[in-house]
Structures are given as structure tokens and as C-alpha cells.
């Protein structure tokens, strides 16, 4: 199990979701992925994508600049 990161800043939805989907497909069960985004749409969309595909959101943080979503991969 390892931690990975994805920079999805400046991308408008659904691109952050697509990048997340493609990255998660490369990872192993139990890995974690930290996605950094700027489009507020991801607050709904990445969790929705995770629910549909069975992955787990283990944290969401928001600061002045970025939204950071942490996902546990479940294949």
C-alpha cells in the first residue's frame, strides 16, 4: 500500500474526475491517492465518482487556493 498524488489544479470538471479515474485504475487495492484541485465542482464530483465505483473518500480539505481530496482505492 502506498500513497500517490495527483495535481488536478486549473482543470475544470470533469477533467479532475477523469484524471482521478485514470490514476486510480493504475493503483492497487489499499493505495491512497491525494488529489489537489481548484474547481469547486470536485467537492461533489470526485466523491460521486468514488461512490459509483466503490472507492472511499478518507479526507477532504479546503484552503484559500486548493481543494485536497484523499481517496482509498478499493478494487
Amino acid at each position: 500500500m502506498s500513497e500517490h498524488s495527483l495535481d488536478a489544479r486549473r482543470l475544470l470538471c470533469p477533467m479532475p474526475v477523469i484524471r482521478t479515474q485514470n490514476k486510480v485504475n493504475e493503483l492497487l487495492n489499499g493505495d491512497t491517492l491525494v488529489v489537489t484541485c481548484t474547481d469547486p465542482g470536485v467537492i461533489n464530483d470526485i466523491p460521486a465518482w468514488c461512490r459509483i465505483n466503490g472507492h472511499e473518500i478518507i479526507g477532504t480539505e479546503q484552503n484559500d487556493d486548493d481543494i485536497i481530496i484523499k481517496i482509498k482505492v478499493k478494487h
Partner: protein, 347 residues
């Protein structure tokens, strides 16, 4: 034990594709959704950048549809391949820059490729005969079937009874009697079916799903092509066409001026790629410069930006100009008057 057949559903996020997939699920078909991202898809998120729309839902309707249906959704980036569809549409454009028929053919062709790679049996769409003036006319329904290469594995559950039988119907994978015969622009049958299925909060019926059908957006795209003397674009171009106020004071450069805090913040992400101007002495917008503006052009642009700042009625406004790869410098200018910002500059 009989085989469970598998269908890939083209999910746009609208009501029709939601219903078409549901009709198949009701027949025991295993359905997974495919949503193609062309770069021009209309979703709530562009609006979400702007603060004044923050009361509206910011969901992606394709994801929402999949969740309502309880199916997987595969979102596929076709931005690069889609360029040829938009730039060279065999069947031409609709009212604006929308190549709807070529788009539908392309998406069904991509779906066929996807089902072959993923061992699915057929494709379904939410098309309704006669509903859309370009891509869903009776005479073009077979054109999509033939030119996509999908042939008899393309099933349109909402209007299947108006069309020749497809392989899933002939082979008994689905029961044709339980398919529908919707036609025309009347949306009441879809709304009634949505009610029957318990869908209440679906995306606006017949709502456009593509920026290319939007006259203002299409105008900006054509302006971009004319200014660059080439019908091409990058992802950053088509994203920036969605936001800001666009003014072209000279043929070779334009200003993209943020209209509010949300847009300014989003555009800040492009500040390493584009020359940009920010007000210093007064509150004001961020402006990106698209095109080869020289120093004099940038100072003139600063006067325009000052017009959109809180110092617009002052004699002097100080702004910071940053050219790509260079140190920023400040200029103090007199804002243009409202009359000096020419109407024809607005793209």
C-alpha cells in the same frame, strides 16, 4: 443459467439517456455508462466558478445519473480526437458551431470500440426520433447506425418501436414489446416515464449539453480561429472561452477580464501561461492577455482593465503588468471612459 447481456449506455446527464438506461435495467440487462468529454460539455462547474451561481447545484449530471441508476460510469476524454469532428464536420453545423450529427456518429463509433474492448454486447442511446432538428431526425437515424459502424447493435430504447428491429431484439436479448415508441419534441412522455421510475430531480429536459450550441460561445470560438488564422484550439483555449469578459481591441490580441472573484481566482491558475494585468491601487479584475501584445499594447490594455476596476472614475489607476517569463512592472494610467471602450471590441 442464461447469459446476462451487457449494454454500454451513452450517458449525457440528461433525462433521455437516464430513461433509456433504466428501461434496459428493468429488462435485466447489465448496463454501464459511458460519458464522453469533448471539452465543450456544459456542466454546472463553469457556472460554479462564478460566485453568483453558487446557489445552484454543482453536480456533474452524468455522474448523478449513474448514481441514480446504480451503474458504473466511464468518463472518457476525447478532447484531442474531437477536434477533427468540430473542425471538419462531414454533415455540417447546426444553428451555431454544433456538429451534432457528426458528433453523434463519432460517439457511437467510440462506444462500439469500447464495447469491443470490454466484451459488451450492444450500445444504447437516449435518442428520440424527431426530437432534435439535426441529429435525431427520422432520416438521419440510419445514418448514425451506418456511419458509426455500429449497425444492428445500436438500440434506442425510447423510440425502438419506430425503428427496424436491432440484433438485441431479434435475438431476444431484450423484449421489444417493453421498448418504447417516443417521437417528436413533446417531452411529456419522458416526464411521465421519469415519474413512473421515481426520478424527480433530473436535469432540465431538452437542455443543451454542449457549449457549441451557444451563440455567444460559438462567436468567441470563431473569433479565436480568425485571430490565429487557423481552425485549431487547445484545451486551455476552450476553457477560457467559457469564462470572463472577452475584448479584442486589436486583431492580434484580446483581453480576458474576470467578472468576479471566482473567475479571477480561476484565471490566476493561467497566470504563468499568459501575460496578465492586475490592478494595484484599486480593487479590480485579473486580466489575461491572449496574443502577441507588445509593451504599448499592454499599457493600452491596462487602461481598459482600469475601466473595469473600482478606480474607473479616477484620473490614475496603478496596475501590475506581467509578461510571461519576465518580472512584473507597474504602470499608472488613466482609465478609458465608457465610450472609449468600443462596443465592437466585445467578442
Amino acid at each position: 443459467m442464461s447469459k446476462q447481456y451487457k449494454a454500454a449506455a451513452l450517458i449525457s446527464g440528461g433525462l433521455d439517456s437516464l430513461l433509456a438506461a433504466k428501461v434496459m435495467l428493468e429488462q435485466g440487462i447489465h448496463v454501464e455508462g459511458i460519458n464522453f468529454f469533448t471539452g465543450f460539455c456544459v456542466e454546472g462547474h463553469t457556472a460554479a466558478i462564478r460566485k453568483k451561481h453558487q446557489d445552484k447545484p454543482k453536480r456533474n449530471n452524468a455522474l448523478w445519473s449513474a448514481e441514480q441508476l446504480g451503474i458504473k460510469l466511464h468518463i472518457i476524454d476525447i478532447v484531442e480526437e474531437y477536434k477533427d469532428v468540430l473542425i471538419n464536420p462531414k454533415h455540417g453545423y447546426g444553428a451555431n458551431m454544433n456538429p451534432c450529427l457528426d458528433c453523434k456518429i463519432f460517439m457511437v463509433k467510440k462506444a462500439k470500440q469500447w464495447i469491443e474492448e470490454n466484451d459488451f454486447d450492444f450500445i444504447i442511446t437516449g435518442e428520440v426520433m424527431g426530437q432534435r432538428p439535426m441529429s435525431q431526425r427520422k432520416e438521419v437515424m440510419p445514418v448514425v447506425v451506418n456511419e458509426s459502424g455500429a449497425g444492428d447493435i445500436l438500440l434506442r430504447p425510447l423510440c425502438a418501436k419506430n425503428l427496424p428491429k436491432t440484433r438485441p431484439e431479434i435475438e431476444g436479448w431484450v423484449d421489444r414489446d417493453k421498448l418504447l415508441a417516443f417521437h417528436g419534441r413533446n417531452r411529456k412522455p419522458q416526464m411521465a416515464l421519469a415519474k413512473e421510475f421515481g426520478f424527480e430531480d433530473y436535469a432540465a429536459p431538452a437542455g443543451g449539453c454542449c457549449f457549441l450550441t451557444d451563440e455567444n460561445y460559438a462567436t468567441k470560438l470563431v473569433d479565436l480561429w480568425q485571430a490565429r488564422s487557423t481552425r485549431d484550439y487547445e484545451m486551455d483555449d476552450i476553457m477560457l472561452l467559457k469564462i470572463g469578459r472577452h475584448l479584442r481591441p486589436k486583431p492580434y490580441f484580446k483581453l480576458i477580464i474576470g467578472r468576479e472573484e471566482g473567475e479571477n481566482k480561476f484565471m490566476q491558475g493561467y497566470s504563468k501561461l499568459y501575460s496578465h494585468i492586475k490592478t494595484v491601487s484599486h480593487a479590480g479584475p485579473l486580466c489575461l492577455i491572449d496574443g502577441p501584445a507588445d509593451k504599448a499594447d499592454l499599457e493600452y490594455a491596462a487602461q481598459i482593465v482600469a475601466r473595469y476596476s473600482q478606480g474607473k472614475n479616477q484620473d490614475a489607476v496603478t496596475l501590475s503588468i506581467s509578461r510571461v517569463g519576465e518580472e512584473p512592472y507597474e504602470v499608472t494610467v488613466k482609465p478609458l471612459t465608457a465610450d472609449e471602450v468600443k462596443q465592437e471590441w466585445h467578442v
